[in-house]
């Protein structure tokens, strides 16, 4: 994990550079600035966050003023302006999740990880943050860990997911209550009877 101090310079790995070129090629010539968001994402995947060296590297690559890149970075919360742990735990506390018990999820997460909102565990493994709606309200409450969503959480399942990660396992993402994706809890509630209109007895 890099810390704020040790990001003094940044450059894409050979592989990512290749990737970056492909991304830039998607946009018409002279419009390469449109690639700023995917490139920032690519850089963040490489080093975990988008510090000033990342901003300047990308600004130069896309021939734009660094301030324009910094505006993008500070606008979107998904770009980390500070280093994060190996697991970036983002707990949704917006309205639907709140109504469905995100308080309990958050509390459990803080307890299990032993850190407060916004902090990183001492071993540098977990960073816990509170976020706004992640668009999975139908499976509220939920949290996002790196690229995966863990949904239908209870304090217990929250604990189970985090403990598993601690042990180095990879818990299954998706709903933790057993339902399939966002299908109704307890199985389908429509189309149970497959006979049509007049066929009905």
């Amino acid at each position: 994990m890099s810390t704020e101090q040790d990001m003094t310079s940044f450059a894409f790995t050979a592989e990512n550079l290749e990737q970056a070129k492909k991304i830039i090629a998607k946009y018409p010539a002279g419009r390469q600035q449109s690639a700023v968001m995917p490139l920032l994402d690519l850089a963040q995947r490489q080093v975990g966050w988008t510090g000033i060296p990342v901003i300047e590297y990308i600004a130069e690559m896309l021939e734009m003023a660094p301030i324009r890149v910094q505006e993008v970075v500070t606008f979107y919360t998904m770009y980390n302006q500070k280093p994060v742990g190996q697991f970036h735990v983002q707990v949704c506390t917006n309205i639907c999740c709140l109504l469905r018990g995100s308080d309990g999820v958050g509390e459990t997460a803080r307890e299990v990880l032993g850190v407060n909102w916004g902090d990183t565990t001492e071993d540098g493994k977990f960073t816990l943050v509170e976020v706004e709606c992640l668009g999975a309200c139908v499976n509220a409450p939920m949290m996002q860990i790196n690229d995966d969503y863990y949904e239908d959480l209870t304090p217990e399942s929250t604990k189970a997911v985090l403990e598993a990660l601690k042990r180095g396992e990879t818990p299954n993402p998706g709903p933790q209550g057993g339902r399939q994706f966002s299908a109704p809890e307890g199985g389908p509630t429509t189309l149970g009877d497959l006979t049509f209109g007049s066929e009905k007895a």
């Binding site: 301030i67 324009r68 910094q70 505006e71």
Partner: protein, 691 residues
């Protein structure tokens, strides 16, 4: 051309015009914060809402193009209610600290709150506060007052071309600030203060020293560079508090360079406010009559050839005319207004003017800059060139300093040989000029002051003739001056008369003893040590190099303290106006010369400024008309000769300090310490000196 109805009046306007602009053509002013006619449309403040029939919601008139048959209401109950809502939101987080705000009395937010604000707040919650940013010695920030109109961001990116400001964060956390490590040191940064519609960006040197309504406003003309920008001098008592630009689309649009704006504290420092005569090696204060007596004692009976005069960079035409006449009366032809030794000949006007005119540069489609850095020599002109470049279809190149000019250009090297190659057609840029419809050349003083100045000028002239820079109805041959006085001096013919010596000759003569009396009319930029044992009489406003060398010092007025004629680099005759009186015993320069002529027993033939100006018109008819540029007839320029291998550089090395006024200014000293000599703010790398 679409027809539409605005507040019951039917008008026809060009397609693509916005509702706000259309309304303006019939005198309806729509309130706005973010819209500015010289900046890109942002449409983010929503103060300009109007109602358009058949549209479901009020629309932002600054961003909405007119449509055929639109029926617009700019001031009905709905519109007023919408604007009141916008205003209420704007004021939620505004500190409402008008009583202690320097913008108070000239604040758009304050004015419009009178029209659309409530008489009390419904907002009970906590207000947001924003940390102030550090923008350097010129701009004071009060970021809590910022209404996020983004005018400052757009100006610094679009007009100044040094994109260091941006909106960081989002929604409630949005703050306007600068990029980490970048300095807000554009040579045009003072304009941010004018553009900011609220008191978020204010004049730092003048902080807390004035209230807008107690200042006396005098419209005048700038003399800090050779553009002659239109300015307004805001004074209180006998003090210039601040200098603002006025609109003059021919020259400065509505911008002003930082030196022209902020060097005004130099008008109060280092001033000569009485006469001095050197006694036993030190200058001792004395009276006008004693000072004149000291001069008379030296000059009377002296052969004319032993007397000489050099005029400085801010000397007005009246003074030079008077001096010229006085020297003629004394039988001397030794005089020069080109203290830098520029190889420009008086009389051949087209060879020393900015012929395309400043506004005309917007028509050029190819540009070659020779020995000049317009960004620090004339920042406002540089912004014009950038504006031209932004429109596209414009190719520029420079032979001279390698620097960031804020517009794309090729650096062709800094040797005069490159110019020779282009002129000979052996360089690809020759074709660029040839193929352009309206090619232009800008030649700076840096190229003209060397030994080979005349040769470079001749090469440039040849190139101009060969490539269509000079054609029917177009003259793109442009000499860019750095001194406000220079064109006026050449126009009035303040150059060696028959048998007389030029600056270099005068200096050599002073050293050898051939010349024993030298008058310096505000000339501070020559090497004073090389004046030998000559008796030096200095006329000027500031205790700068000239006064220190002088044997007699005669205090005169600065450009803010007199009505004086200057001719800008285009050849535009303009007059400054008296805003304050000269300090102490200082007098207007020409009056000093007139009085001196009496003392010397050679009274000049004019007693009033009117007569003097008639005398100027008699010596050159251009002085008859103010404010316009008369096209000068092309008659070649320069003289062929050998080129030296000295690299071509700008005539100015520190933008912030070029004349006695700016050298006396504390603000300019702070800028030099913080920003260096200018041109440095676009560095993408952290410099380590700025946090």
């Amino acid at each position: 051309m679409p027809k539409l109805t605005i507040d019951g009046t039917e008008i026809e306007v060009e397609a693509g015009v916005t509702i706000l602009q259309a309304a303006e053509t019939i005198g309806i002013e729509i309130p706005r914060f973010c819209y500015h006619e010289r900046l890109a449309v942002a449409g983010n403040c929503r103060m300009c809402l109007v109602e358009v029939e058949k549209m479901p919601k009020p629309v932002a008139s600054c961003a909405m193009p007119v449509g055929e048959g639109m029926v617009v209401h700019t001031n009905n109950a709905n519109v007023r209610k919408a604007r009141q809502g916008v205003m209420e939101f704007l004021l939620i987080n505004h500190p409402l600290d008008c009583p202690i705000c320097d913008q108070g009395g000239e604040c758009d937010l304050q004015d419009q709150a009178v029209a659309y604000g409530g008489d009390r707040s419904r907002y009970q919650e906590e207000k947001r506060a924003v940390e102030d940013k550090s923008y350097g010695p010129l701009i004071q920030t009060w970021m809590t007052r910022c209404i996020q109109c983004t005018r400052c961001i757009r100006f610094i990116s679009e007009i100044a071309g040094t994109p260091v400001l941006g909106g960081l964060g989002r929604s409630e956390h949005l703050e306007v600030g600068r990029y980490v490590g970048a300095a807000v040191s554009s040579e045009l940064s003072g304009n941010l203060i004018d553009l900011c519609p609220v008191g978020a960006l204010t004049n730092k040197p003048a902080s807390y020293t004035y209230r807008a309504w107690e200042l006396k406003k005098t419209e005048s003309v700038d003399a800090m560079d050779a553009l002659g920008s239109a300015i307004r001098l805001d004074t209180r008592g006998n003090e210039v508090i601040r200098i603002l630009p006025r609109v003059n689309d021919d020259i400065n649009e509505e911008w002003l360079s930082d030196r022209s704006r902020f060097a005004c504290d130099g008008l109060k420092r280092q001033r000569l406010d009485r006469c001095y005569v050197r006694k036993d090696g030190t200058l001792a204060a004395t009276s006008w009559s004693d000072a004149f007596a000291a001069i008379t004692a030296k000059v009377n009976g002296l052969a004319g050839s032993k007397i000489a005069a050099i005029a400085g960079d801010q000397t007005d035409v009246e003074t030079m005319q008077a001096f010229k006449d006085l020297l003629a009366a004394l039988g001397s032809g030794n005089m020069d207004c080109r203290q830098d030794g520029a190889k420009l000949a008086a009389g051949n006007r087209a060879a020393y003017l900015f012929n395309s005119t400043i506004a005309g540069i917007e028509q050029a489609d190819a540009l070659l800059i020779i020995g000049s850095n317009p960004r620090i020599e004339a920042p406002v002109l540089n912004a014009r060139i950038r504006k031209r470049w932004l429109k596209g279809g414009f190719k520029a190149a420079i032979i001279g300093p390698k620097t960031d000019l804020t517009f794309q250009h090729d650096w062709l090297g800094d040797s005069a040989q490159v110019l020779a190659a282009i002129a000979a057609g052996n360089h690809p840029f020759a074709d660029v000029l040839k193929n352009a419809a309206k090619p232009a050349i800008i030649i700076g003083q840096g190229a003209l002051t060397g030994e080979d100045g005349a040769a470079i000028l001749a090469l440039a002239a040849k190139l101009a003739q060969d490539t269509g820079v000079i054609a029917d109805g177009w003259n793109g041959f442009n000499v860019l001056h750095t001194a406000a006085a220079r064109v006026g001096g050449l126009d009035v013919g303040f150059v060696p008369q028959a048998g007389g010596k030029d600056t270099a000759g005068i200096i050599a003569g002073a050293q050898s003893g051939e010349i024993s009396v030298v008058f310096l009319a505000g000339a501070d930029e020559i090497d004073m040590k090389s004046l030998g044992n000559a008796f030096v009489v200095y006329l000027g406003s500031h205790g700068d190099a000239g006064a220190h060398r002088a044997d007699v010092v005669l205090p005169t007025a600065a450009y803010t303290e007199k009505s004086a004629t200057f001719v800008n680099t285009e050849g535009r005759v303009q007059r400054t106006r008296l805003a304050i009186f000269p300090p102490g015993e200082a007098k207007e320069d020409w009056k000093v010369v007139r009085a001196l002529s009496d003392a010397l027993g050679k009274p000049l033939a004019f007693d009033t400024v009117k007569q003097l100006r008639q005398r100027m018109v008699a010596s050159n008819a251009v002085f008859a008309t103010e404010g316009v540029v008369a096209a000068a007839t092309w008659a070649g320029a320069g003289a062929e000769g050998a080129l030296s291998d000295k690299p071509l550089a700008s005539a100015i090395d520190n933008f912030y300090m070029v004349d006695p006024i700016s050298r006396a200014s504390k603000t300019m000293a702070e800028c030099t310490a913080e920003f260096g000599g200018g041109c440095g703010c676009n560095s993408k790398k952290k410099t380590g000196t700025h946090g």
